[in-house]
Symmetry: C2
Amino acid sequence: MSATIKDVAKLAGVSVATVSRVLNDLPGYSEETRIRVMNAVAELRYQPNAIARGLVNKRTQTIGVLFPSVSSAFSSEILHGIEEAAQEQGYSVVVCNTAEDGKRTMKYLQVLREKQVDGIIYSSGVLKEEYHQALQAMAIPVVLVATKSEYADIPYVKVDDHQAAYDACAYLIRRGHRRIAMIGGPAHDVIAGEPRIAGFRAALADHGLPPDEAPVLDGRFIFAGGCEAAEELLRQAPEVTAVFAAGDEMAIGVISTAARLGIAVPAQLSVIGYDNLKLAEMCYPPLTTVAQPLAEMGRLAAAKLIARIETGQPEASEILPHQVMERGTVSTRE
Amino acid sequence: MSATIKDVAKLAGVSVATVSRVLNDLPGYSEETRIRVMNAVAELRYQPNAIARGLVNKRTQTIGVLFPSVSSAFSSEILHGIEEAAQEQGYSVVVCNTAEDGKRTMKYLQVLREKQVDGIIYSSGVLKEEYHQALQAMAIPVVLVATKSEYADIPYVKVDDHQAAYDACAYLIRRGHRRIAMIGGPAHDVIAGEPRIAGFRAALADHGLPPDEAPVLDGRFIFAGGCEAAEELLRQAPEVTAVFAAGDEMAIGVISTAARLGIAVPAQLSVIGYDNLKLAEMCYPPLTTVAQPLAEMGRLAAAKLIARIETGQPEASEILPHQVMERGTVSTRE
DNA sequence: CTGAAAGCGCTTACAG
DNA sequence: CTGAAAGCGCTTACAG
């Protein structure tokens, strides 16, 4: 079918070893044979077989990426960053959608192992003990993005969730709000749930506001959850003037619900989100939110992973800066 | 490092050929040896090396997917469908972000060839002659999704863009609108630009409305483009009561712009989008739009590709049904 | 039912 | 500077 290294060796009148040398820029051939080889390569439109190469090199130049949901706006942006950095370094990325399912995740880990990927990026979500064991057995580098773990050997790239939530709440307070509520994730979510709630409460406390009186509802990080939580909140605590939604989808849900209920944002209700997804700029008024540099996180995670693969040196975890993006959904109160 | 087939053969006291047979469910071994082999496999936690297998089988169980932008909501949903179908059939998917760049696309094609992927899905965008040639040289199955081409050997999976645009416009007319504008893609875009504009005009004509008087602006399929086009439209043709935006992002842009200008949607201006992205339900009022079954398109494209890979039989192109999703952005006019 | 051997398409000591 | 040969981890006729 396609030409192999043997074909070019024959056409160039040299051995396959020599062809391999010139193709890989290894020392040991004359300029003349180099030209002969390159001509043969061109004539046959030869392309090396990366599978054969991978078998001997024990490197596939491929990394696996596990997402709870590839199609979410959140994951897509991270994926974009990963893909970009990987491709620049000559790596391919195979995507895996775990659907937050343990069985499926384990299955993927097995497939990635069989396919001999050089490394794995695990995104947003808890790295279960079971996964960690499988990963250990694979004995390849792993890096976490938008999550972290208790395992010292696995570096992560994320934002400081506690501080980011703190800053969101402090921003609201600085704008004059006193009756503030939060719509977050599940309290038992140790990555994106609990730390943000704690950060929110800490900001309240630091500013002399009773942290336990502030309503904190669970919006499950999704739009529908944000809508439901907002509806309940507005019914139960109509005195609230501002809400911190710990995810942009939920924040948009709050805005939609407010609009449906005839409550003006930001005049009557201020909203600050979290993530800074692209859709934060697509609503009206545009959403004020605390930005995570998602694409950058993906890029950095991939860079760390590849560095680890190629140098064998351990990589440090990294906390990336967040930033509140002031847009149109927070008003100033006197 | 990891155990190989040799290790299990030795431990089980059989030849590697026999191990291979039991692992691949091929005929030719006794129940007793099967058990011995499986025990050895379990003890060594043996996992076959897919790279070695791929080298001899000439199959990698991997497909490549090319997107103009992996992180767009549009692409993500298609990717989700592809990934799902692929994983069910035991295939992995490597994602490539072409950024609509010719050089980059060619580079990816080369990488995918070197990595010996079994097939390729090319999404949304024109399949240039140059790409087609590269694909031919690879001699592997290709399927198009959300686009089509003039090449008879490449099946596609898409919606009928002309008809979908026609239906969007006809829906507006049925709701009593007479002064209708369109915000579409570039007129020279033969896939998603021109056909939708033609469908829009055809609907106008069929309903006795002068098709050439209707404003048609270019919003480049992006939010910002939708905003700009809407602003211009509202200034130049304030008599318009409804707009068909041939992409949800642009439709959301129209809604945002209208809101900013104090124009009520749908009371003063009706808007119908195209795609039915998740964000269509996340704005207020929720966006009426003509739905493309994106995930389903991805799923079907992957299914076709895999069928082609495994059976060698050609696959037919498929036009999937679209559907107008009535939500809150179109009012009825008398 | 089972094994020895060739071969997939490369890379890499080793020898000259 | 160059080639013959072994080997990466599998599968698959072929022979018994």
